[in-house]
């Protein structure tokens, strides 16, 4: 009986994650915009203030989660759109790799930036 649950193929899992991340993003993205354009105006942004916020652990983790979900949601969305357009075979594999690498770079860079603000030296090599 076990194997029938393995039928939850990548297609379905990704679909579900796209929804879950979307639901999460609704809240966080709204919060993000609100915070950085209405509470603090964009022209008031300074390194010191950003760093101040990032030093709070809860804000820091929220932003990291924001980064991860947005990256997944965005990149998976693009990938999905390409499949819908009929992308197959080698081209599709290539796109998969390119998108994977790009999101990895994005995540790493985002991480490093956040760490810079928070004053964490997690990945000193980078």
């Amino acid at each position: 009986m076990a194997e029938r649950y393995s039928s939850f193929r990548a297609g379905g899992r990704l679909w579900l994650w796209q929804r879950i991340t979307a639901a999460f993003l609704v809240v966080v993205l709204a919060f993000h915009f609100f915070l950085l354009h209405f509470v603090h105006h964009a022209d008031e942004v300074t390194f010191a203030m950003s760093a101040g916020r990032m030093e709070t652990w809860s804000y820091y983790s929220l932003m990291i989660l924001f980064l991860v979900t947005a990256t997944f949601h965005g990149v998976n969305g693009v990938y999905n759109a390409l499949i819908n357009a009929g992308l197959t075979g080698v081209k599709r594999q290539a796109v998969k790799v390119v998108l994977g690498v790009a999101s990895l770079l994005l995540l790493v860079q985002g991480f490093r930036t956040a760490n810079a603000w928070a004053g964490i030296d997690l990945l000193p090599i980078l």
């Binding site: 649950y5 039928s7 939850f8 193929r9 297609g11 990704l14 579900l16 499949i83 819908n84 357009a85």
Partner: protein, 295 residues
């Protein structure tokens, strides 16, 4: 001896028109004759008007034939068809074919929205020719073959791919729990029949598939009609739980339900008013649910 309950008056009445006395029937008959003359006069007038091009519908019909010179380059032909009340797009095409150009080619058969052979692209949307009243359309009425499929000739498209998709979802009833008795039927609740009722109405016209941008882009996408077919069986309680799992596996494949982007155009064009998007979405949820059960 007549074996039928025939009205005696009927016989005499139809046998001989001359009978004595001014009966109510006579009066009615006179009246009828008068009305008939009136109608005839009206008809003649109407014809004259039609002849004077008063009430003609302007059709612009897509033409293409891979073999015939002059038709190899797709083009639009104009036909001016005299309008009669109640005339449908199919009637107009038949008129144009029979009166103007016998080579005008389109599929049709039942004239009553049940055979599904005359799905066409009329004024920019997928409709059955026989189910579309000319009077509901703006002129000129543009009639084209279904988009996103190969044109064989004029308004005829290749349906093979559509049939393949329909047949790929195991579109037949399967169950392991048949009742014992030869003459005993399986039970099905009214609610369950109600649930699958709409999905069983599909006439394989292909309108939905033609309207879906995803199906247009992804050739392997099962498409709304095939998914709806799968729904019809997955939701039929007579097939039993194990079969349902199998059905879900079919629609869960990569080019199954997940490809649907809820564009709703399939639902909008379906001539049988099948809520396709709703069915697809329900299957997505069913699939997720059944997979999360033991997580």
């Amino acid at each position: 001896m007549s074996t039928q309950r025939q009205q005696p008056e009927t016989e005499t009445e139809t046998e001989s028109t001359e009978s004595e006395g001014e009966t109510a029937q006579e009066r009615r008959l006179d009246e009828k004759r008068r009305r008939a003359e009136e109608r005839e006069r009206k008809r003649v007038e109407a014809e004259e008007r039609a002849a004077a091009d008063a009430e003609r519908y302007h059709l612009k019909v897509f033409r293409y034939d891979p073999e015939v010179e002059g038709k190899q380059e797709p083009r639009f032909d104009d036909f001016h068809v005299p309008y009669e009340p109640g005339m449908t797009v199919l009637d107009a095409l038949i008129y144009a074919r029979d009166q103007f150009d016998a080579s005008l080619t389109f599929r049709h058969s039942c004239r009553q929205a049940i055979c599904g052979s005359d799905a066409l692209f009329v004024n920019g949307s997928q409709r059955l020719g026989c189910q579309t009243q000319l009077s509901d359309l703006d002129q000129p009425v543009r009639i084209e073959p279904l988009p996103h499929s190969e044109v064989v000739k004029d308004l005829v498209v290749d349906m093979e791919h559509f049939y393949d998709q329909m047949e790929s979802v195991e579109p037949y009833f399967q169950t392991e729990n048949r009742p014992e008795g030869e003459l005993e039927e399986q039970r099905q609740s009214r609610e369950n029949r109600e649930k699958i009722k709409k999905s069983t109405r599909c006439i394989w016209c292909g309108a939905c598939m033609s309207s879906c941008n995803i199906a247009a882009g992804d050739n392997e996408y099962l498409g709304p009609a095939a998914i709806n077919k799968a729904y019809r069986f997955a939701m039929d309680e007579r097939e039993g739980e194990d079969m349902k799992q199998r059905r879900l596996e079919i629609i869960e494949q990569e080019h199954g339900v997940w490809r649907c982007q809820t564009q709703f155009s399939c639902t909008e064009v379906c001539p049988k008013d099948i809520p396709l998007t709703e069915h697809i979405q329900e299957l997505k949820r069913e699939a997720v649910k059944s997979n999360l059960k033991f997580w």
